[in-house]
Symmetry: C2
Subunit: 341 residues, 2 copies
Amino acid sequence: MMQIKITNGENLPNIPWQEKPEGLTGAPVWRYTENPVIKRNPVEGVARIFNSAVVPYEGAFIGVFRGEQVNGIPYIYLGRSENGIDWTFDKEKIHFVNEKGEEFEPVYAYDPRLVKIEDVYYIIWCGDFYGASIGLAKTTDFKTFTRLENPFIPFNRNAVLFPRKMNGNFVMMSRPSDSGHTPFGDIFLSESPDMVYWGKHRHVMGKGNEWWDAVKIGGGSAPIETSEGWLLFFHGVTGTCNGLVYSIGGAILDVDNPSIVKYRCENFLLTPQEWYEERGFVGNVCFPCATLQDSDTGRIAIYYGAADTYVAMAFTKVDEVVDYIKTHSKLTESDIELGIR
Amino acid sequence: MMQIKITNGENLPNIPWQEKPEGLTGAPVWRYTENPVIKRNPVEGVARIFNSAVVPYEGAFIGVFRGEQVNGIPYIYLGRSENGIDWTFDKEKIHFVNEKGEEFEPVYAYDPRLVKIEDVYYIIWCGDFYGASIGLAKTTDFKTFTRLENPFIPFNRNAVLFPRKMNGNFVMMSRPSDSGHTPFGDIFLSESPDMVYWGKHRHVMGKGNEWWDAVKIGGGSAPIETSEGWLLFFHGVTGTCNGLVYSIGGAILDVDNPSIVKYRCENFLLTPQEWYEERGFVGNVCFPCATLQDSDTGRIAIYYGAADTYVAMAFTKVDEVVDYIKTHSKLTESDIELGIR
């Protein structure tokens, strides 16, 4: 196996971790044995927490969590953890302000991602902008959360920021959709010099030729910079007579031109099979939203929503998972091209 | 009647024109008696020209035309006219280059608009960007057509530029959609300092409460600056058991904050009733894409696609049509608000 490394230089010795179990077959991604890590009714007034994102913070961990309130409306809740596994949540949902400091709450907010770029933490979610679209806010202290301009007009979901600027610009992936349970979906990226105006849009990759991701795909966790390119965990969706099934896929994007896909794994990395993935508010969903990683050891902890009901974790090592993606890579023309028409 | 004027200061004494016929009832918009002005098979290899836009140019008129080729694929063709009514077309479709001057043709291109801003002519169309989206190009001489960055990720149609910058920014309206015959649609606007990056998106107005525009709406011709605000002709769509019906509507947008609708006419201004509007490739379509106007007299000539088959013209006067829109205005909360969530 080649020497494949995480190249962002950030060490995380306290990363949550379990070694690979004996006898694992298929993709080198294994579930945490004590899953799910966040269970039903995690906080008063919230029925379920899932599809959520975490980062290291002040020697411990902090995160933004999709909390489905008992009225069914999703908002974002702040959570903290010493070990990345056991979480405590603020009872109040996160309050947002506009750039003047005035209260400016989203109508609703779901599937948040959390990405640190140059000492600022950005929260990206799906909200209502006269239709499903991307909301964006920043914080430096996890006390004040300042909303920025909505980057796009509807309809759009699954936005993820890259963890560093490229060519001086912020880079965001997103997944244009329609106003419902969108029966299509490709991943695009867009650049911004200032987080106000976005452009230079490029197509990254489309729904797959394989069956497991044939309906639509969407960005998952923030890409991880590796010696082979940007490692992206995404979700791929297939359709059945009884609804959609969400699996976790993996791809490697060109490090300088991330709209070019270098490798794309033809097999899912993780697909619903455990009770907490198959059963719940929306059964058969594994939906990755964040990772933690340790450059030193190459360890990666994946946080994923399970059945729109729980947060679960899985583990992998960068060399093993990148090698698996490369070994099982199958690319289409729309993957390898620059993505401009 | 109040003194309502076109305030862009541009006179067009040779505007095509017919006086209002005796006995006109309803909205003060009347058809050209010799409609359609562009008939079937207008040029070799093109079956139909419709949904097209024109501007005054060098004492005559020039335009960009949706030409449906005999293979069914739409492209944009250049046309010229001495009187704005009788048109001759280039046999070759317009060729586009990128900013390096290299050939860069759209996969297809339809429903072009043509707007002059500060001595540059911008063409905006709906093209394929891995899904229906907005294409954008500029020209100063109608010989070289240089494509700019696609302003938005899919899915989007019916983009129209305002004819001047506001607060130093270009302003574009568009209508987010889905990947098919979209069963919904509101008008948004977006700003750009440079025609590369777009942001500060705002919701302008949604599909109507009235039946004639209950399914979706979309921008039509470039807004006309008047003493009452921006006069916008748009299309409104209703659904029937036998398909969609496209009518022409009218609204007045705030001159400084055009995401705020000041008046919105509850009645259509023009709806399919003539043979060339009711019959054709797509029957029951009146689809406005351009106007000519004369500040001096307040005359407005509307160019609209008829039944996805012909170009037709209609006339109005600014004072009469604005007065009609104001008199029959009915606004919803989403019309009058700033349009940010």
